[in-house]
């Protein structure tokens, strides 16, 4: 039996601006000791999925409206709060993006670590303190015993994240959920923290769910990846498979829109047109259709489920042999995946639903000073066709940032 099994999870937020369809039926499993990446942009539901698993959705707005979360055979969605609290911290631990907001600024590190240990283990204060020193040393904090009396602000960002990791691993949890653990850190510090996280979870056999927007981070850290978009898992595969044969147009788009350090000179970036969907609209059809170069007429109406690329009926959901599955009506070919755009002769993407205009490309301005610039930019910027993005509706305010939590 899998350590963690998320079945058809649906999470919505009731806000005064309407219902946010944050997670729309997510199913995945995780074995003991496995390292899974949850990849996607802000608002794709990756963090909300995590919060729903550990029952920390902001109340009263956020609610699990469907599905189950089985951890060690127990359904966390129906367990009494007290029992969930026991599991949190001891069996499932979390690390968040910003260690400054996850640590209590008015308590010393000693108080916070001892509190965590004593909350779950029957040990004396002295024993808990001894353990705290061990843990701080384990995560590479110099002069651990002296630093116990320090407050969080006396640590640097990287050190704070180390303290968070120490607290998270204090009780040797079976599952560690790390939500953008290095996004707030500099790249050399990120390397330190990822290295630490990898070594410790490997040593302790801790399963890891790593939530990030950075494809580079998951490439080196995980064994399996779920790519999320608009509250759906759109592609799932082992890490090796996903990068060797990316299959969903969104995954392909992501891979082509970030410059690689080892890219060939002059390699062009192919941005994903348009912008992420408005989560206040109930999903109809494929959520990626408005931005997709490969879309068919069917994509507007019908949301394809995850299907095995090989067409097999039996699906392996975990481990090294996990089946590569993608949710797409018109999967790009391997050549198209490498090129980042459709190549099939005569293929034209389906037109948008009636009345849509292009939000970014709908430009008809006069061309004077810039001498043909607009036309040239338009022609160049849209090697395929300019795709409609907002379906011509008024643009809603969008207060989220790249690295938002929920």
């Amino acid at each position: 039996m899998a350590l963690l099994s998320v079945e058809d999870l649906v999470v919505r937020f009731r806000t005064h601006e309407g219902t946010i369809h944050a997670v729309n039926g997510v199913t995945f499993e995780l074995e003991e000791g496995e390292r899974l990446g949850l990849v996607g942009e802000s608002g794709c539901g990756k963090s909300v999925t995590n919060l729903a698993i550990i029952r920390l959705l902001p109340k009263p707005a956020g609610r699990i409206e469907g599905g189950r979360v089985l951890f060690d055979g127990q359904d966390l969605t129906v367990l009494p709060e007290a029992e969930v609290r026991d599991i949190r911290g001891s069996d499932i631990a979390m690390i968040f993006q910003d260690p400054m907001t996850s640590l209590n600024p008015v308590l010393t590190i000693r108080e916070q670590m001892v509190e965590t240990i004593q909350a779950h283990r029957k040990v004396t204060k002295a024993e808990a303190e001894k353990r705290a020193v061990e843990l701080l040393a384990m995560v590479g904090i110099p002069k651990a015993a002296d630093r116990l009396k320090d407050y969080p602000h006396q640590f640097s960002g990287g050190m704070r994240q180390r303290v968070m990791i120490a607290i998270a691993l204090a009780l040797e949890p079976k599952l560690l959920i790390a939500d953008e653990p290095t996004t707030a850190l500099d790249v050399t510090i990120q390397a330190q923290v990822l290295d630490l996280l990898r070594n410790l979870t490997t040593e302790q056999g801790t399963a890891l769910v790593l939530i990030t927007h950075d494809l580079g981070v998951v490439a080196g850290m995980t064994q399996r990846i779920n790519v999320m978009y608009a509250g759906f898992i759109v592609e799932t595969a082992t890490t090796a498979d996903l990068f060797a044969h990316p299959s969903h147009p969104y995954t392909i788009g992501l891979l082509h829109s970030v410059p690689r350090l080892d890219a060939v000179e002059g390699e062009e970036l192919i941005p994903i047109e348009g912008r992420p969907p408005d989560m206040r609209r109930a999903p109809t059809g494929c959520p990626f259709a408005p931005r997709c170069a490969w879309r068919l007429e069917a994509c507007w109406a019908d949301n394809p489920g995850l299907r095995a690329l090989s067409g097999e009926e039996t699906v392996v959901t975990t481990g090294e042999r996990a089946t590569h599955r993608s949710a797409c009506h018109n999967p790009p070919t391997a050549e198209e995946a490498a090129a980042g755009r459709p190549l099939r002769a005569g293929f034209t993407a389906a037109p948008p639903p009636s009345g849509a205009i292009d939000e970014l490309g709908g430009t008809t301005a006069n061309i004077d000073d810039f001498g043909g610039l607009v036309a040239a930019i338009e022609a160049e910027e849209s090697p395929i066709e300019p795709f409609p993005s907002a379906a011509g509706l008024p643009l809603p305010p969008e207060p989220e940032r790249r690295n938002d939590g929920i």
Binding site: V187, E273, E320, P396
Partner: protein, 381 residues
Amino acid sequence: MTASDSGAAPVVPALLEVRDLKVHFPIREGLIFERHVGDIRAVDGISFSMARGETLGLVGESGCGKSTTGRAIIRLYDPTAGNVVFDGVDTTSLDRSGLKAMRRRMQMIFQDPYASLDPRMTAGGIVAEPLDIHGVGAKRDRQDRVRELLATVGLNPDYAERYPHEFSGGQRQRIGVARALALEPDLIIADEPISALDVSIQAQIINLLERLQGRLGLAYLFIAHDLSVVRHISDRIAVMYLGRIVEVAGSKELNTAPLHPYTVALLSAIPIPDPVVESRRRRIILKGDVPSPANPPTGCRFHTRCWLRERLGDPEVCSAEDPGLRELSPGHTVACHFAEQVDGSAEQVQAVGARPAAGAAPAAPASRPEPPTHPQVPASA
């Protein structure tokens, strides 16, 4: 007119020349009688130049002084020492009206499109503001110019009447770009212009900036922490560490043959979205954090964290002597006493994620056996 201006006119004038620029922020203590107790040496003596139409990437980690450098160039901060010569004019000596004229040719794009646009102004108003301030064109013409600018950055000109909150992050950054373009500047200082944006939107803005440069002959000072983005857009790259430039080279050369130990470490730390490459690479894990710029280390500022110094048995000179920038090959300068040792080292080869097919046997023997950085996890407990 300053002393530096009275010298011989340069033969091929650089668009921008920064000479020994220092920006220190005083640390004060005491409430009534504020005492000056020290300085944050955010930028501590850097020099570089930029040609017309060139993109210079300024890269480094937070606190290295890269943003301060950008702001000091455009005089949002007053330099503590040094000169910034823009098209032959020393901007450090300019008065208000001189600055205003200078800034017409030098514009800035900021990191956070949520904070850098006035929420009470329309998109059109924001783009028109520089035109109004500098009195460019007749009022009637400005409307057309604004529409044209919005179109240039890929926004629908009909959106000119909308307010910033009605736009997404990527669109707001486009408004910021349109505003920077309004006065047809020669130089745009782009301070982390994409790091607040979603991954899929970042490429839209990078491509836009590249296309505008091709058409308008703009020079960019592109300030960012992400070396892979900087590499993509820049002709040359300057790497900063703790208020100093430690290495300058052509974009390609910096990435294939970095010569400063810090650059090597920085490159090795950047994850590459490819598990095959990742499993082959070995990261150089730098110890500890960046020291405080209020009290930088003596000698080479990187010596406290340097892997090469450790390898060489902690030579005295690293902590005693401040290495100046040396030109090791044409156009490639580096501030390290032992830069020659970096070239061809196993670390340098590993850091750039070089394919083994290149057949480049590490010139320097791997002096210590390094454990694989990516151990395989046993299937499950």
